[in-house]
């Protein structure tokens, strides 16, 4: 079943990628292969392989058994939640500033992974933020986002 889904997704991706390659502008500086040449070849290759995978899956005739993990969407949604936390961090860090945002990320991620709220959790998040801030900003000199704090304070 998974091979069928993989093959079908591969075919769709190959078709979309081919069309996108076909729509690429042709430059006057272009060589014989052109900007679209290699992408089109890759799309055809992916399409052929996807078709082979589908044929192989159909030929194998698997007996589909609905396992808990396949039927239950909860674990997948839970996994996507991790990405959601990262996206929230990326969206808020420019406003909150790096130290606050990374402390919040550490705390919320620990909660999301099952840690109970406690003063210790808050301490760990703050200590972690101080550690990362010291490492990236003070030692490595990376310009991390300052957030709105400089404007609010000064």
């Amino acid at each position: 079943m998974r091979d069928l889904v993989t093959g079908a997704l591969g075919l769709v991706l190959a078709a979309v990628y081919y069309l996108a390659a076909d729509a690429l502008p042709v430059s006057l500086l272009s060589d014989a292969v052109g900007a679209a040449g290699v992408p089109k070849a890759l799309a055809i290759g992916l399409g052929l392989l996807s078709a082979m995978l589908i044929l192989r899956a159909v030929a194998a005739r698997p007996t589909f058994r609905g396992t808990g993990s396949a039927a239950d969407p909860w674990p997948h949604l839970q996994a996507l939640g991790v990405v959601g936390l990262g996206a929230a961090y990326a969206a808020l860090a420019p406003y909150l500033g790096y130290p606050v945002a990374v402390a919040a990320l550490i705390g919320v991620t620990a909660l999301y992974f099952g840690m109970r709220p406690s003063p210790r959790l808050v301490l760990v998040a703050l200590a972690g933020a101080a550690l990362f801030w010291g490492l990236f900003v003070k030692i490595l000199g990376v310009a991390m986002p300052e957030g709105l704090w400089p404007r609010l304070i000064g």
Binding site: P39, A43, L46, L53, Q78, L80, V82, M115
Partner: protein, 497 residues
């Protein structure tokens, strides 16, 4: 003998030995942080070398390079996050060993393999710089294309039991590599009007997403935390039997690391992948690869560290920096008015031989520093799972942002994480995809450059002797892999009821 005394005097008459230790520590920290590549770690120290004497400055930068190339393997083994591109091949068996409670053993293997590779690379650099530098000059665009194809031929063996899925994953990686400005005509491809994509997608972003973010996504669905036994949270250096098992992968890694290192632009990543694949091919226990194989850690780690020495061959022999890290080292030399190339040995022998001596000290320092820091690293990753995952996530987003100060990159990594999670569900192997991303630009740009130079004649790939040899090697590798796949498939069908 006079060279040895020059090296000894150059090292002991200034701060070179402490600089080598400091450089290794700095490099390990930089290499262990995803987003801080070896070249970035070196570049961060470059301004501080102005005030140093030339030998100390060059030794410091070279030691950072040695430390960083090794440091990338630590998070690869402990938290499934390759700190550098070259450490991606170590993830597969290194992290699996850690998951089995053998993290200390994996780190020990990685450390001694790094040492063996580093010393071998140094020996090659000292003994063979002149003849190998000439070989580097023989690499033309067709040869680079063939080198990329040789690297891609590994994909056939990385399919994890399904050649079709391995090839599909490889093509997906090559597709990602086509994003950005077209290497010949300058046309933006698949950028959808986003300036952030004009430079393409950096391989490290794809790797961190595919390996690390997808691992976080999997871990959140697995509540049980298999605490490692107490004895396993200590660094374990290889015993005699393990050394015996590592001999072959070390030999493979040494040869491949030498060839890849002297080839400008190839670097440790291709060397690590090729070595991994060849170690599996020549192993008596190929079935252990991907399930915590000793050889699966030893081969890529050795090859990767051989490159730290051999990548300096074109720089010292010809004055050509073959990698970003070598370019930073070149900068360090130029700052002090030194011109790398054959004349460096005649005009400034103390710098050239001091660098050799410094690299030797750096490799020993890597071992000593590793012995000190690895057990605490193991202790750290055995903290409660929610805290560990939270810190890993913070490290990922911070490290990725640090590359270009771009939240777009953080978004790309998260997207790559979703793709990696989906690939795990579909059973698509990750390594071929990584290889495709790493090699895509090299293959396409040199393929098209070759055709431009030859007026569109594909015979150019067969007329260039280096390209022909490499292509024949690639065909040979593919043929052997296909034959083995067919034999395995026949064996399975015979066993089936």
């Amino acid at each position: 003998m006079s060279a040895l005394s020059v090296a000894w005097n150059a090292l002991t008459s200034n701060w070179s030995i402490p600089a080598a230790f400091f450089g290794v520590v700095w490099g390990i920290i930089g290499g262990a942080l995803p987003g801080i590549s070896p070249s970035i770690a070196m570049a961060l120290l470059l301004p501080f070398t102005y005030g140093l004497d030339p030998v100390t400055a060059v030794v410091l930068l070279a030691s950072v390079y040695v430390g960083a190339e090794y440091g990338g393997s630590i998070p690869a083994i402990l938290i499934r996050t390759p700190g550098t591109n070259a450490a991606a091949a170590t993830v597969l068996d290194g992290f699996e060993m850690n998951r089995q409670g053998r993290g200390g053993e994996a780190l020990g293997i990685s450390l001694v393999s790094g040492l063996v590779g580093g010393l071998f690379g140094l020996a090659v650099l000292v003994l063979l710089t002149e003849p190998l530098a000439r070989l580097a000059l023989a690499f033309t665009p067709p040869a680079y294309f063939a080198l990329g194809i040789l690297g891609l031929s590994v994909i056939a063996g990385l399919g994890g039991g399904s050649l079709i899925k391995g090839l599909m994953a490889g093509i997906l990686g090559l597709m990602i590599a086509t994003i950005g400005t077209d290497p010949v005509s300058g046309v933006p491809r698949f950028t959808f009007g986003t300036p952030d994509l004009l430079n393409g997608v950096a391989p490290i972003l794809v790797m961190v997403g595919l390996f690390a973010v997808s691992e976080l996504m999997v871990q959140v669905t697995e509540p049980a935390w298999n605490r490692t036994e107490r004895g396993a949270v200590r660094l374990k250096l290889p015993d005699w039997l393990t050394w015996k098992r590592m001999f072959k992968p070390h030999a493979i890694g040494s040869v491949i690391g030498t060839v890849e290192g002297i080839t400008p632009g190839a670097g440790g990543t291709i060397a690590a992948f090729l070595s991994y694949n060849e170690a599996r091919r020549w192993s008596k226990h190929p079935e252990e690869f991907g399930r915590g194989s000793v050889e699966g850690v030893a081969a890529p780690e050795c090859a990767n560290n051989v490159v730290t020495g051999t990548a300096l061959v074109p720089l010292l022999g010809l004055g050509i920096p073959g990698s970003n890290s070598a370019a930073i080292l070149l900068g360090g030399l130029l700052i002090h008015g030194l011109t790398p190339g054959p004349m460096l040995f005649e005009r400034n022998p103390e710098v050239a031989y001091g660098l050799y001596g410094g690299l030797f000290v750096a490799n020993i320092a890597m071992l000593l520093v590793g012995l000190v820091i690895l057990t605490p690293c193991l202790w750290l990753v055995n903290r409660p799972k929610p805290y560990l995952m939270a810190f890993v996530f913070a490290l990922i987003v911070s490290g990725v942002y640090a590359i270009d100060q771009s939240f777009f990159d953080v978004g790309l990594v998260l997207a790559a994480g979703i793709v990696g999670y989906g690939m795990r569900w579909m059973g698509l192997p990750v390594l071929p995809r990584v290889l495709g991303v790493v090699l895509g630009f090299l293959v396409e740009s040199n393929y098209r450059r070759s055709l431009v130079l030859s007026g569109g004649d594909h015979m150019v790939f067969l007329e260039d002797p280096v390209a022909l040899i490499l292509l024949l090697c690639a065909v040979g590798l593919l043929a052997v892999t296909l034959v083995r796949e067919l034999q395995a498939a026949r064996g399975k069908s015979r066993l089936a009821p």
